[in-house]
């Protein structure tokens, strides 16, 4: 019986095999999705053995009710096959995708698929089919003997990688996600603060204490930094790796590394503090969930960093506007002021007021930790200095405080998005893109669309922290090896996305902006630099639509002549080139942007509507 089953069913598989090869790139997402369902229904309705019969039955039904199928459906079996395979492979790893090819009966398959297409092409059908498919395959594994599985797997051969993610594979992924979350939570943490607050040194020392940096390397850094006469920079060298950063003693670009605490896996982003590198800091912060704001407690230094012109305020405002909700204030360099409680309280009071009243952090989400990056006091080990122990009770170390942070809910059920923050080549693995998965998830073998070039590519490998992974979720910092696309089509700022719901590219947007403390008012025609994720692009404020009440959001004035400081408004912004943007209502994290002008951050904004886009439709079909 199984033998017969496979014989009869195989023809369909051949169709699936042959057609997509001839036209591998041309697929239409909606149709593919629609077609996938019906074929999936096939196995679900009966056990594997019965599949054939069912197919035959379908076949006849189809022939009666559907007109001859146009060339389009002929591609569909491919999709269906691919989809099936995905699931079946996952469940029965024995079955290799590359097995014998079988004879064909093209017409039959076409008819079947076409007919189904007509029958149930709605969403409900798809979902049902998805779960049915899964159970069907499981059944296969239980009921069918070796031969049956093999043959049915053959029939579902992987033809092309699935274009649209089926619900079935998604279910799997959800399970995987919860499993992974069983042990340690992932947290993206950015370190911000005024220049020379000791961000890199603090984090370098923390990494050293946690064992991420071995003694030998550290010793080397100590020796080398001493040679340059900058021995106090030794710990900063852990994160500041380029020659220029080391000789100048200033972080210039975001350094990324990873460490583990008892409860968390933390991706650390060490942002530069110098005001000229705020674009880099924005890039880092847009990828972060939480922040550590480092404060230099030294007399005079805290004041310069905090007063007008210092980066403490700007960084804090930027972090809040970019969606960072929780912040730990690390009051650093406490050793230079003899661990004075008075000073500590003064700083916490001033900052606490600023962070909660002006920057808009919730009081419960702001915590303070006194520490010293250079001596390593109160980082991962409880404080030992008597001056600090005397008044700092109960003592909470920085690491303990990090453990207390709550990771945000990640939008893994949304379509896949990844904003490319780096493109580089690596020996042996072709070319890689790096970035944070903004939403959804990605697996090796997935097809993705690269916007705004509108090119398709296949994900070859997914690496998290240089280790290959089977799947990466929203919030993960990943490196992805791509194939099937030329490197020139992928730039920093490109977006990899799910082909079934590609991202929007925009040249003109309507946005709600909150204006900071600015020196000159914003008029129409005001040139700005538009910072979004990891890109900055020149843009012009084209129209001022309305001025809003800052707290209620009501329209105060329509078509204002200019926008003054600390106001809120709806404006239209025109970008020099098209960028991939998302609406704030769809993707919170991906709908935020910052506007800067003349080296100052002038406004934070939320994308409300894409007014104009130059998306190349043909790239998708």
């Amino acid at each position: 019986m199984p033998g017969v089953g496979s014989d009869k069913q195989l023809p369909a598989s051949e169709t699936a095999l042959s057609t997509p090869y001839t036209a591998p790139t041309s697929y239409t997402v909606p149709t593919a999705a629609a077609v996938v369902k019906p074929t999936i229904v096939t196995p679900s309705a009966s056990s594997v053995k019965a599949t054939v019969g069912f197919l035959e039955k379908e076949d006849t039904v189809v022939k009666k009710q559907t007109p001859p199928v146009s060339p389009l459906p002929s591609k569909k079996p491919g999709d269906a096959g691919g989809l099936k395979l995905k699931v079946s492979v996952a469940n029965s790893p024995r079955s290799s995708p590359k097995t014998v090819q079988q004879q064909t009966n093209v017409k039959k398959a076409e008819g079947a698929v076409g007919g189904m297409d007509v029958r149930d092409g709605d969403n409900a059908g798809r979902e049902m089919a998805g779960s049915n498919l899964r159970s069907a395959v499981e059944m296969m594994g239980l009921e069918g003997d070796e031969g049956t599985i093999q043959s049915s797997v053959n029939s579902m051969k992987p033809v092309a990688t699935p274009k649209s993610k089926s619900k079935a594979s998604r279910l799997d992924v959800m399970a995987e996600y919860s499993k992974r979350h069983g042990d340690k939570e992932l947290l993206n943490l950015v370190v911000i603060g005024h220049v020379d607050a000791g961000k890199s040194t603090l984090m370098g020392h923390l990494l050293y204490q946690l064992g991420s940096v071995n003694k030998k390397t550290m010793h080397k850094y100590e020796q080398e930094s001493k040679k340059l006469g900058k021995s106090s920079f030794a710990f900063a060298w852990v994160l500041d790796e380029t020659e220029e950063e080391r000789t100048r003693g200033v972080t210039m670009d975001v350094a990324q590394t990873r460490f583990e605490t008892d409860k968390k896996i933390v991706t650390l982003l060490d942002a530069p503090g110098h005001k000229d590198f705020i674009p880099n800091m924005i890039t880092g912060t847009s990828q972060a969930d939480v922040a550590v704001l480092v404060i230099n407690a030294t007399r005079g230094e805290f004041e310069t960093g905090f007063d007008a012109g210092g980066q403490t305020r700007e960084h804090a405002l930027l972090a809040r506007s970019l969606g960072v909700g929780q912040v730990i204030v690390a009051v650093n360099k406490m050793d230079t002021i003899d661990w004075s409680q008075e000073r500590y309280q003064l700083i916490t009071k001033k900052l606490g007021q600023f962070l909660t009243r002006q920057a808009g952090f919730r009081e419960a989400d702001v915590t303070f930790v006194p520490c010293s990056g250079l001596s390593g006091e109160n980082l991962s080990r409880p404080p030992a200095v008597p001056e600090l122990v005397a008044w700092y009770t109960p003592a909470t170390t920085l690491v303990e405080q990090i453990d207390k942070l709550r990771p945000p809910v990640r939008p893994i059920d949304k379509p896949f998005r990844l904003n490319v923050s780096d493109v580089f080549t690596r020996v042996g693995s072709g070319f890689n893109v790096a970035g944070r998965v903004g939403s959804g998830f990605v697996q090796p073998g997935d097809k993705v669309i690269i916007m705004p070039a509108a090119m398709t590519a296949t994900v070859k490998n997914v690496f998290i922290d240089d280790a290959p992974e089977a799947v990466a979720f929203a919030g993960d910092q990943v490196n992805i090896t791509l194939s099937g696309v030329d490197m020139v089509n992928v730039n920093i700022g490109s977006c990899l996305c799910d082909p079934s719901s590609p991202t929007k590219s925009a040249t003109r947007i309507r946005a709600k902006i909150v204006i900071f403390n600015i020196a000159v008012p914003i008029t129409k025609g005001f040139p700005v630099v538009f910072h979004y994720q990891s890109i900055n692009e020149p843009a012009v404020i084209k129209r001022l639509l309305s001025q809003l009440n800052r707290s209620t959001g009501e329209v105060v004035k329509r078509k204002p002549r200019c926008l003054v400081k600390n106001s809120s408004a709806v404006v239209e912004i025109e970008l020099e080139r098209s960028l991939c943007l998302e609406l704030y209502t769809d993707f919170k994290d991906l709908g935020r942007f910052m506007l800067r002008s003349g080296g100052h951050t002038i406004a934070a904004g939320l994308v409300e509507e894409i007014v104009q886009s130059k998306m190349r439709q043909n790239g998708l079909s």
Binding site: T242, E243, H274, V520, P521, G525
Partner: protein, 385 residues
């Protein structure tokens, strides 16, 4: 530009004969020529002659033609002005009414005839014929991965090269890729620099960037120049000036030109003066919004009340094809002048002029505050883009 002959009657109609001497003069010419004028110049025409036997012979002939202007086209990159229209003086090669495109050439005179020469155009001629030596300026505004090489003359900012490369970020263990990418980027700038910068004309080279990119690049440039034995760069080392800018985009030039260090070094300050005037306007908008107006309607109303102290106008408005529009702006300028106001005409090619153009093209700083009237709606929409 040289003015050879000026022949005008009482009503200000008549002709002017000019000789453009440098590429910037083409820009001035572009601002003078309007649709409806006639232009007479020597030009090259392809002429077809048919012999008695019917064989066709095509030859190129240099001839002098007079054309009634219908279309004007200015190429900013090559600084070439093309004027097209119908021939109005027949000669042996070209029939009456035949279309022809005159390409104005350097050092060849042309005669422009207008029905009416207004104050703006006359001023433009004076300005163009001012023999004062003006320094040409090269500015490289850059940030990691983006650089603009611009040539700045008194009335033009020309982007000669835009360099954009993606530089891999610093990454654990792969720092050399970052350095390599950076050097590739610098090399591209150096190439563009060698191609576009002529030190005979250029008096000053500005290198502007945020952070340390400018210092790093300058070091690299001189090191490379040594290696390549490029004498011109080494000899002109004193012409290089490093300035801070907030980004590598073109509009950052505004910040660069506003830098007092730079203004002191420039013999001609028109570009910098424009930046200053626009900044003043914005400051006024911040401190006393009732004394800063923009938009034609608002400015006209202010002019009626003799309130305008400084009027900022983009020269783009005077190139309007619509004669009544053009007249409207000219009369605005004239009325401001009559009342002792100061008029600054911005070049639309400069970054500041570009910004003013976006801001409806006209802006004014008033002598006394005039409360804003809450009436007109949708007025701004018409002059959007």
């Amino acid at each position: 530009m040289k003015l050879l002959q000026r022949d005008m009657d009482k009503t200000n109609s008549g002709s002017v004969t000019l000789v453009p001497e440098e590429s910037e003069d083409m820009w001035h010419a572009y601002n003078l020529v309007a649709v409806g004028d006639t232009i007479r110049s020597t030009t090259i025409r392809k002429v077809q002659t048919e012999s008695a036997t019917g064989s066709v012979n095509v030859s190129k002939v240099r001839t002098t033609l007079t054309v009634q202007v219908e279309g004007i086209d200015f190429d900013t990159q090559a600084c070439v002005l093309r004027v097209s229209g119908r021939n109005i003086s027949e000669n042996q090669y070209v029939k009456m009414g035949a279309y022809h495109t005159v390409i104005l050439e350097m050092n060849r005179q042309f005669t422009l005839n207008k029905q009416e020469w207004d104050s703006i155009t006359l001023e433009r001629i004076d300005q163009a014929c001012d023999p004062a030596q003006h320094a040409d300026l090269v500015a490289i505004v850059m940030q990691e991965g983006i650089a603009h090489l611009c040539l700045i003359t008194p009335s033009m900012t020309l982007v000669r090269a835009k360099i954009e490369t993606s530089i891999p970020r610093k990454r654990k263990g792969l720092c050399d890729q970052h350095t390599k990418g950076l050097h590739r980027f610098y090399n591209q700038i150096i190439q563009a620099f060698q191609r576009h910068v002529n030190f005979d004309i250029v008096k000053c080279v500005l290198i502007a960037s945020p952070g340390f990119v400018k210092d790093h690049f300058t070091d690299y440039l001189f090191a490379e120049a040594m290696k390549m034995d490029d004498k011109t760069i080494i000899e002109n080392k004193s012409k290089f000036v490093l300035v801070h800018s907030s980004s590598g985009f073109k509009h950052s030039l505004k910040e660069v030109l506003a830098d007092p260090v730079i203004t002191a070094r420039l013999s001609d300050t028109k570009a910098a003066g424009e930046v200053k005037a626009l900044d003043d306007f914005y400051t006024m908008l911040q401190t006393d919004p009732d004394r800063a107006y923009y938009g034609v309607k608002h400015c006209e109303r202010a002019a009626e009340n003799q309130a305008i102290e400084i009027l900022l106008v983009s020269d783009e408005l005077f190139r309007s094809q619509d004669i009544s529009q053009r007249k409207r702006y000219v009369s605005l300028v004239d009325s401001v002048r009559e009342n002792g106001g100061d008029v600054r005409i911005f070049s639309s090619l400069h970054v500041s002029g570009e910004q003013l153009g976006q801001l409806s093209g006209v802006a004014a700083i008033l002598r006394f505050p005039m409360p804003e009237e809450e009436e007109e709606e949708d007025e701004n929409d018409s002059d959007d883009d």
